[in-house]
C-alpha cells in the first residue's frame, strides 16, 4: 500500500521545469490576443441583446454561479453605463490580458482576467461558441492555477518575481497530460463508432461543409482515394493518443503527427484558432523535456533565473 502511494505521488508530482509553463503562457497569450482581435468588429453583435440574454437564462438553469457578462451589464445598468460600452471594455480588458500573458507581465493577474473574461464571453455567447472556447477555457484554467511566473516572463526577469509553489509544476503538467489523453481518446472513440470515418465520407463532408469549405470541392474530389486513409489515420491518432503519446518510443512521432493534423485542420478548414489552441496544449503537455525526471529544479530565489 505504501509503495502504491509512493508511486502515485511520484506519478502525480514528477520533477519538472517551467518550460512547459512558458509554452502554455505564451501560446495562450497569442490565442487570447488573436481571439480578441479577430472578433473586434463582431464583438457587440455576437454578445449583445436577446441572444445573450437567452443564453444566460439557460445558463441559470445549470447554475447561477457560472460567470457571464450579464453580471456586469446588470451592474452597468444601475449606474447608467451603456451596454455596448461595457462590452467594449470587456473586449479591451481581454485583449490587454492576452498581451500580458504573451509577454509575461503580471502573469497571474493576466491569467485570471483572461480566464474569467473569456469564460464570461464564451458562456454569454453560448449559442455561438464552439470547441475552441472549451479548450481555451481548459488551458486558461490550468494556467491560472499553475505556479506562475515562469523564467521567460518579464515578471521573472524585470520584477524578480518567483513562483511560490514550484513543486506543483509537475502536478499541473500531469493534469494537463491526462486531460488531453481523455479528450483525444474519447474523440477518437466517438469517431470510430461512425462508419463515415472508416470509409472517408466524414473527411469529405467535413471539408465541403459550410463554413469549413475553404478548398474548392472540385480540387478535393481529385484526392478522393486518400479520404478513407485520412479518416482511419485520424481515428488511430486520436484513439491511440493515450498509448502513443505516453510511450517514450512513440511520443515524438505522435506529438508531431497530432500537431500536423491540427495544422491540416487549420489550412483546409479555416479553423485557425481551434488548431492553435490544440497545438499549444499538446506542446505544453508533451513537448520534449517534460519526462526527464532528473531535470534541474528551478531556482526559488531571485537572481537564479539561469538555474
Amino acid at each position: 500500500m505504501e509503495t502504491f502511494r509512493k508511486r502515485l505521488l511520484e506519478f502525480l508530482f514528477p520533477p519538472e521545469t517551467d518550460h512547459y509553463l512558458a509554452i502554455l503562457r505564451v501560446g495562450l497569450g497569442v490565442e487570447v490576443t488573436l481571439y480578441s482581435l479577430s472578433l473586434r468588429n463582431d464583438w457587440i453583435y455576437l454578445l449583445s441583446g436577446t441572444v445573450r440574454q437567452l443564453a444566460e437564462a439557460l445558463l441559470s438553469l445549470e447554475s447561477h454561479f457560472i460567470p457571464r457578462l450579464g453580471w456586469f451589464t446588470a451592474l452597468a445598468g444601475q449606474v447608467e453605463v451603456d451596454e455596448n460600452r461595457l462590452l467594449f471594455a470587456a473586449w479591451a480588458f481581454l485583449l490587454v490580458a492576452g498581451c500580458g500573458l504573451l509577454i509575461g507581465l503580471f502573469s497571474r493577474v493576466s491569467a485570471i482576467v483572461a480566464w474569467f473574461l473569456h469564460l464570461c464571453t464564451a458562456k454569454s455567447g453560448g449559442f455561438a461558441s464552439y470547441g475552441m472556447d472549451n479548450f481555451v477555457t481548459i488551458g486558461l484554467f490550468y494556467l491560472m492555477l499553475s505556479p506562475l511566473p515562469d523564467r521567460f516572463s518579464l515578471d521573472w526577469r524585470l520584477r524578480d518575481l518567483r513562483a511560490k509553489d514550484p513543486q506543483f509544476l509537475g502536478f499541473w503538467r500531469r493534469v494537463l497530460q491526462l486531460h488531453l489523453c481523455v479528450v483525444y481518446f474519447f474523440s477518437g472513440l466517438a469517431k470510430c463508432l461512425g462508419s463515415g470515418w472508416w470509409n472517408g465520407s466524414s473527411v469529405w463532408r467535413a471539408l465541403i461543409r459550410p463554413p469549413f469549405n475553404v478548398i474548392d470541392p472540385e480540387i478535393l474530389v481529385r484526392w478522393k482515394n486518400l479520404f478513407p486513409l485520412a479518416g482511419i489515420l485520424i481515428c488511430v491518432l486520436e484513439f491511440g493518443y493515450p498509448f502513443g503519446i505516453w510511450s517514450s518510443r512513440t511520443r515524438t512521432i505522435w506529438l508531431f503527427s497530432v500537431c500536423a493534423m491540427h495544422v491540416a485542420i487549420a489550412v483546409t478548414m479555416g479553423m485557425y484558432l481551434f488548431s492553435l489552441v490544440m497545438i499549444v496544449l499538446n506542446l505544453a503537455a508533451f513537448a520534449p523535456g517534460g519526462f526527464r525526471a532528473q531535470r534541474k529544479q528551478i531556482g526559488l530565489q531571485p537572481g537564479t533565473a539561469g538555474a
Binding site: N41, S63, F127, N134, G194, A206
Partner: protein, 175 residues
Amino acid sequence: MVAEGPTIVPAWFKNISQKAQTFFSIALGKKLPPSNPTREALNTYANVAGIETGYGYFAPNVPGGYRLVFELHYPDGRVEYALPSVKSEAAGLRIADLLENIGRTPHDSMREILVKTLAQSVWREHPDVESIRAILGSVTLPSVREFEHGNRESYEFLYAYDFSLMNQPAKPRDR
C-alpha cells in the same frame, strides 16, 4: 452518443449505454432539481474548468448543417434575399454554430426568438423593408460519387417565420 446517436455498435450495446447514461446523469447530479446546491456546484465547476461538454467533435459522423435565408419584402413589391452576415471569418464560424443551435433545438419558442433576433439585425441593415420571411433549411451534402455526377449541396425546408416589422419595430439597442 452511443445511446442516442446512429453508430456502428450493435443494438444490444445501446441498452447498456442508456443505463450508463442514466448512471452518469445521477452521479453528476443531472437528476437533481435545478436549485439543488450539489447540482449547482458540480455544474459550476464543470463550466469554469471547461469540462461540461463531451469531446466528440464531428463524431460519430459529420452532420450536414443548416442554412437561414431572409426574404426581404419591400413596400414596392420588390423581394431580395439576404443571409446572416458578420464581418470576420472567425465570427462566421460562430454564426454557423448559432445556426446549428437554431436547427437542432427541440423548443419552437427558442428557435423563433433566435431567428427573430437575427432577422432584426438584417432589418437594421435594410431599414426600408416591409416584412421579412426567415426560412430555415437543413443542408444535405453530396457524397463524393454524387458530386462527381454533378450533384451539389441541397436544402430541405424546415421552418419559415414571417416578421412584420411595420407593426413591431425592433428596439435600437436590440440586435
